[in-house]
Amino acid sequence: MNHLPLIIKREYLTKVRNKSFILMTFLSPLIMIGLFMLIFYLTQLNNSKERTISILDETGTISQIFTEDEDETTTYNILKGISLEEAKKQVQETEEYGLLHIPKMTSTEEIAEQIKFYSEDSPSQKFISRLERQLSKELTDVAMVKNGVEVELVESSKMNVAIVQESFTGERTSKFVNYSKLGFGLAAGYLLFMFIIIYGNMIMRSVIEEKTNRIIEVIISSVKPVQLLMGKIIGTSLAGITQFLMWVILGGIMMVVFSLVFGVDLAGMQTAQQTELLAQGADMNMQMQISEVYQSLPLGNLVVAFFIFFIGGYLLYSSLYAAIGAAVDNETDTQQFMMPIMVPLILAVYVGGFTVLEDPHGTVATIFSYIPFTSPVVMLMRIPFGVPLWQQLISVVILYISFTGTVWFASKIYRVGILMYGKKASYKEIFKWLKY
């Protein structure tokens, strides 16, 4: 008698109908978007602060670069004919943001070393950097003129290098494309990581629930424990996938609604890194770059591998979660057994992330993409950079063989553990169960 579909159906429906599950499904995207909006709003608020600073320029020439305002948030007040002490006092009284002091020196080098900024509180680093950038440019120009160098000539001689990377088979790539690939890989790996933690815990709780409700013995007098275990894992996974899909759909809808209502330009929400990347590849326009990323990504491979590694990795870990659930009596006892699960997972995400960033085909990254407990995450990170098919196949085979191993191991523990009430499980105890 195959009861698997029946068990899957029950597990799925119980999860999906659960009030807190429904609440989380609808609330999470709202909270996430809300948080995102809040952060965006606060960052803008922080940056758009209007400032007035006074400048005491004893050279009388350098301060002219501050006349035209760069971003219209800073007002410059050029002081003339007063001493530094008087200027300091005045700025303190008027509660301006600060005082920039440019002393008169004989050489430009000395001026460069002696420029000071006085302020009440420590100033924004971003603001100071901008001042420094403006001042160095001006002082450099002044020094060049002094040394008899023609500034225009220097400007026109400046070369901007953006190395175009091309593989021997003719695939072109660039820094931007590589970063995008890394983004894809990290996103896929992270998604799996989150999925394992959230829904693995859900499976564990559901096993514990059956134990504490004492229904387990009734059930396994009808079905084989392995069948119940598999039904639980599959049913919960389907509920998880449902929730994820709902999040994607709701998230998408809400993004659109928010951007329409609040008029936030979504395309304008770029991080500093992205802006920098764009600046580096300034000769290419955005459209071209996106199409280039799209073309250079092994999309078919990525999609297929994503499903294979996602399912394999998830099943591998969730069977272990189920085993933990079977071994303990309540959730507080699970802590000691969580370590062996969390360590390889975290290792996968962080070590994987860093080594792939360093070199997607480096030794460590390659080895980690074979070890079954890290391979799903690390391989998903590597695949956007193109991994030879044979490597992927070996990794998949190892993963699925290990999966049968962990399911065997988990079902052994599960079979014994679910019937053990009130006994505190230790590693030693569990090791003994394997022999029952």
């Binding site: 029950r10 409700n213 009734v218 084989k224």
Partner: protein, 309 residues
Amino acid sequence: MSSILQAKDVVKKYGDYTALNKVSIDVPKGSIFGLLGPNGAGKTSLIRIINQITAPDAGEVLLDGAALQQFHVKDIGYMPEERGLYKSMKVGEQVLYLAQLKGLTKSEAKIRLQYWFEKFEIMDWWNKKIQELSKGMAQKIQFVVTVLHQPKLLIFDEPFSGFDPINANIIKDEILQLRDEGATVIFSTHRMESVEEMCDHIALIHKSNKVLDGKLTDVKRQYKSNTYQVGIAGGDNQQLRKTLNDKFELTDATFKSIDDDLKVNIKLQNGDTSNDLLSYLTSTGQVNHFVEVIPSVNDIFIQTVEKNN
């Protein structure tokens, strides 16, 4: 009478610990079979093997003459001692699910469930969640779950714990009715009075070994000590006692009586019959009370366990 269930030399080990040491039982068809034993004797281990929850390390279990197989689960109804239901699932839905796991189709299960719910007058529980029910109510549902698929063999582990006396009686009557309809019942319990009342066969497991089994009447016959409880009046009770004491093995007895009798237990020597005793007693005094002392299951239980300790 043929047997529905036979366990032959069943051995079960957990690591170094032997939970069952070559235990054999034979459950006759249509009987109510009491599986007795102190805590930790191995009863639950045996029941779990019969339910195929665990497998024996040696020996075999036959159901209706055939070795146990997965499809046999539909022939067995099991109410474990550690029992429960999904707390947040609705009653009707839950019972249907568990019945389907036992191999019933959904429509079949629905019809039978309606029958039982009407019988217990609990139709309005259908859409309630288990957590809204009292413990006794949940136990009733548990009973329905156990019997819904009309199994040939019913196994109850401490069936009356958690029931109030009224509901315990209802369940007892239902069990007896199921037996009359042809089912065989295995009882595992500490409550000796219910064994006395219901069981016709018993087996006693102690420290992983079966120490006693058979038809309850046979067991009792085997354990009776040829002792008779006597109430006799013959003028001077002290004198009477002395006379009897010279001839028989006497112990004091207590029972209710309206007469001022000498109350004693008289143990007969080998060869003597109750008629011999009675005729002697009638020649000595007025016999107001004469009854054979038959050991209760409780006595047998305690006696056997202590003997084997």
